[in-house]
């Protein structure tokens, strides 16, 4: 049993945490790729910006300025610092639900990115700065995993994390592969490696496919891999699992409950394969994932948070 408002906050806490990590990683890859003056570097900038919904061509803005804005611009509600501020605001709302260990990791990180010296630190060593942000977010997740009871609070937070992840990875893949699943704009080896890095997938990918970096394999890995935590299939399986566990405690007559929607999406990914994707293009499937996630999000609200009171008053 937990307050509906609290569930809402925990869910968003998870989403903002995941968003902050994803953006930090895109920024790191973008900055690294542009160290060499190649076309692939420019391509990486374009991919990163398009994946966060800023589809400017990156021309005119240096990659450093672009990355700095992505990370530290407080007036941009989608920047890393804004995401962390919102994550912490949500954590403060539910301070009684998360452990001290978990809270302290997030608060520490918040204090770091909002420090008056943050801009100076970023300029002095953006790579170290971003590395630390990502490492701190890993510590946060580790603290949550090992200190919080894996009950409803934790599940709502994990649900937020995987919902956000499924959508972010889908968006990234849409940018790269929606138009042409096999090569398209991404012929270059360096650009393809950048995509894998943006999904934090390079090393796990290499272990499965070796150093032959093929667009088809990247797509297969990031959409269908069962074991990789950043594949869409893995994320949707987690969403389905957390929702089924929570729904067991809710007596609801709603037929299209969130767990049914999530189960359907999971099944769809389970039974599709990369040949089909190549035949029709990755676009339709990725769009389906994004749309279905939006429907699941609504269903979560209708079931747990914003349900009509009449349905739940005692008889």
């Amino acid at each position: 049993m937990m307050l509906a408002r609290v569930a809402d906050s925990l869910y968003w806490l998870g989403r903002y945490i995941e968003r902050a990590e994803h953006l930090s990683r895109l920024s790191t890859v973008m900055l690294n790729a542009t160290l060499d003056q190649t076309d692939a570097g420019a391509q990486a900038v374009w991919i990163a910006l398009a994946a966060v919904g800023e589809p400017g061509d990156g021309a005119g803005v240096g990659s450093f300025e672009a990355a700095q804005a992505l990370v530290l611009d407080r007036s941009d509600p989608n920047s890393v610092v804004s995401s962390l501020a919102r994550a912490r605001e949500n954590a403060r709302q539910v301070r009684d639900q998360i452990t001290t260990e978990t809270w302290e990791r997030l608060n520490l990180l918040y204090l770091k990115v909002t420090d008056p010296d943050a801009t100076k630190d970023f300029a002095a060593g953006s790579d170290i700065f971003l590395h630390d942000v990502i490492a701190d977010l890993h510590l946060f997740k580790g603290a949550a995993d090992t200190t919080m009871s894996h009950g409803e609070s934790w599940r709502f937070m994990m649900l937020g994390i995987y919902m956000e992840r499924a959508q972010l990875v889908s968006r990234l893949l849409e940018v790269c592969f929606a138009e042409s699943p096999t090569h398209g704009r991404l012929g270059d080896h360096v650009a393809l490696v950048s995509v894998l890095r943006m999904a934090c997938a390079l090393e796990p990918y290499l272990r499965v496919y070796t150093a032959e970096i093929e667009p088809r394999h990247i797509l297969e890995f990031l959409v269908f891999d069962e074991d990789f935590p950043r594949s869409i299939r893995f994320a949707t399986a987690q969403i389905e699992q957390h929702l089924s566990a929570m729904v067991r405690s809710v007596s609801t007559n709603e037929r299209a409950g969130p767990e049914r929607l999530a189960g359907r999406l999971k099944a769809r990914l389970q039974f599709a394969d990369v040949d089909e994707l190549e035949a029709v293009g990755a676009g339709p499937l990725l769009t389906t994932v994004v749309n279905e996630c939006a429907r699941i999000h609504e269903a979560i609200y209708e079931t747990f948070v914003a349900y009509p009171l009449e349905t739940r008053l005692p008889a």
């Binding site: 509906a4 301070r95 007596s251």
Partner: protein, 506 residues
């Protein structure tokens, strides 16, 4: 006041600072007027003397860092945006001997018993008003008097379940009550956090001193709250009601909910249906039995009190009247900590208990009385004047420290609305050693112990010591830049290692 002239030879010194510790005319918690260390401070004084200035500064930084990290902050309301700050926290604990504490404990218990009887009476038959002990218009006309509470049954007659009275130690070393806080007193989370910090800062001294623990506060609070519902529900659902994350005491609300293991709810989580109170959970509506509210009376229920408030729940007060939920502290308790009613508390104690007050009041002049008003106006440069309705150090004139213009302006305000003001002599609060800018200096302190009252009355053996961090300042409120420190109540006053040389300086 008998100001003792301090010569350099009298000045107690603390070896690690080189500078002398210069107590003023006020009672000093650590040193006697002769410059000797009071016996109960011996172990701490010894420890302080072995730590260098750098070590102390490092420990102070660690302490502040830990508070910031934990988010032990309060919100400062500014013009532009609100920011979070930690309450300045001082490294050195303040120490209270067992015998002194025993007197404080019985005194506070007596006082709260009388005040709860007073509340039961004025919301009942009003016998004390009929007997003319307290002026009728003072009580019935007080803005904090809640007509809606009339003839409402409160279990155990416990109106104020949590009370945080402010005590000060006067020049003669005696404790006196400065004010009672019976509405939504805060600071208990700082008491607990300060204790955690002090244990880490001075572990050896802490262990050797024999300090009474305060850690049980959350479970005592929970059982107090549950005892308010014991009549009618076996395992009552308790919640903490907070105005929300923007309230300056939000940290405390979340802290208490977490340590009691009960939900922290906001008004928007509550639903009242057929005079029952529910909270909106992920699995539907769940009945609530006891609300520990940290929302002021006015904001509890827009149907009964302020219509423009969204902090409470519509219909909550009716559910309370119907006996379906308990609100702690009860609405309307504020009338007993009204600054004008305060003057009558000694009479209230005698009236209900037939006992003399154990803890004295500070002499108080009521501006509503013409003779006392003219005395106040003639002595503004010696008095502290307070607005009856204000708190947190606002609406206050510290006469001796004010300019002539400030006093003139205040005189006009008093004359315009004499009922709204009281005045008290300027009391030199006692001083205690504090680390300020790398030096150990005396700063004025007060004492806020916490008293729980339900089926039983319990005084937590500890308190929040608030510190006026500005040199010479007597204002300790956190909203006015005050800080705090841990308070050690000793379990036993007998010296732990040999007797006889207790007051010798190391």
């Amino acid at each position: 006041m008998a100001a003792k002239t301090q010569t350099l030879a009298d000045t107690p010194t603390l070896p690690m600072t080189e500078a002398a510790y210069l107590p003023g005319v006020a009672y000093d918690e650590m040193f006697t007027p002769e410059g000797d260390v009071r016996q109960h401070y011996d172990p701490l004084h010894g420890r302080m003397s072995t730590l260098g200035a750098e070590e102390l500064a490092a420990r102070q930084r660690t302490l502040e860092r830990s508070f910031l990290l934990q988010g032990i902050t309060f919100t400062v309301y500014g013009a532009e945006n609100t920011t979070e700050r930690i309450i300045p926290t001082d490294l050195f604990p303040r120490i209270i001997p067992a015998a002194e504490w025993a007197r404080i404990e019985t005194g506070l218990t007596q006082r709260l018993r009388a005040l709860n009887l007073f509340l039961a009476d004025i919301y009942g038959d009003q016998q004390i008003l009929m007997d003319g002990v307290v002026p009728r218009e003072l009580v019935l006309g007080a803005p904090s008097f809640r007509r809606e509470m009339q003839h409402l049954y409160v279990p155990h007659k416990a109106y104020a379940n949590v009370c945080g009275s402010d005590l000060i130690r006067c020049q003669d070393g005696q404790f006196a009550v400065l004010e009672d806080n019976l509405r939504v007193p805060s600071g208990v989370s700082y008491m607990l956090a300060n204790r955690d910090a002090a244990k880490r800062t001075f572990p050896g001294t802490y262990r050797a001193a024999g300090v009474r623990p305060v850690e049980r506060y959350p479970d005592l609070l929970l059982s107090t709250l549950k005892s308010m519902a014991a009549d009618w529900r076996a395992d009552p659902q308790v919640v903490v009601l907070t105005p929300g994350v923007y309230n300056s005491a939000y940290y405390e609300h979340a802290y208490l909910a977490r340590l009691m293991g009960v939900p922290l709810v906001e008004g928007r989580d509550l639903v009242v249906h057929e005079n029952m109170v529910y909270m909106r959970t992920t699995t539907g509506l769940r009945r609530i039995d006891v609300i520990y509210r940290r929302v002021d009376d006015d904001f509890i229920d827009p149907l009964t009190f302020r219509r423009d408030s969204s902090l409470g729940a519509a219909g909550l007060f009716n559910a309370y009247r119907a006996g379906n939920v308990v609100i702690c502290n009860a609405p309307g308790t504020g009338v007993a900590d009204d600054k004008a009613v305060y003057a009558y508390v000694p009479d209230i104690i005698r009236y209900y208990l037939g006992e003399d007050p154990i803890l004295p009041n500070i002499e108080t002049f009521l501006c509503r009385e013409p003779r006392q008003l003219s005395h106040v106006l003639a002595n503004l440069d010696k008095l502290v004047v307070k607005a009856v309705g204000a708190s947190g150090g606002y609406g206050m004139l510290v006469g001796p420290h004010a300019s002539q213009k400030e006093r003139d302006d205040f005189a006009l305000a008093i004359k315009a609305d004499p009922e709204n003001y009281i005045a008290q002599p300027t009391i030199q609060l006692s001083t205690a050693p504090c680390l300020v800018d790398g030096r150990i200096e005396p700063r004025h302190v007060d004492l806020r112990p916490f008293i729980l009252s339900g089926e039983k009355t319990i005084v937590t053996p500890g308190a929040l010591t608030r510190v006026a961090l500005k040199r010479g300042s007597l204002v300790v409120n956190s909203s006015q830049g005050g800080g705090s420190k841990d308070t050690w109540v000793l379990a036993d006053d007998a010296p732990s290692n040999g007797a006889g040389h207790g007051s010798a300086r190391p």
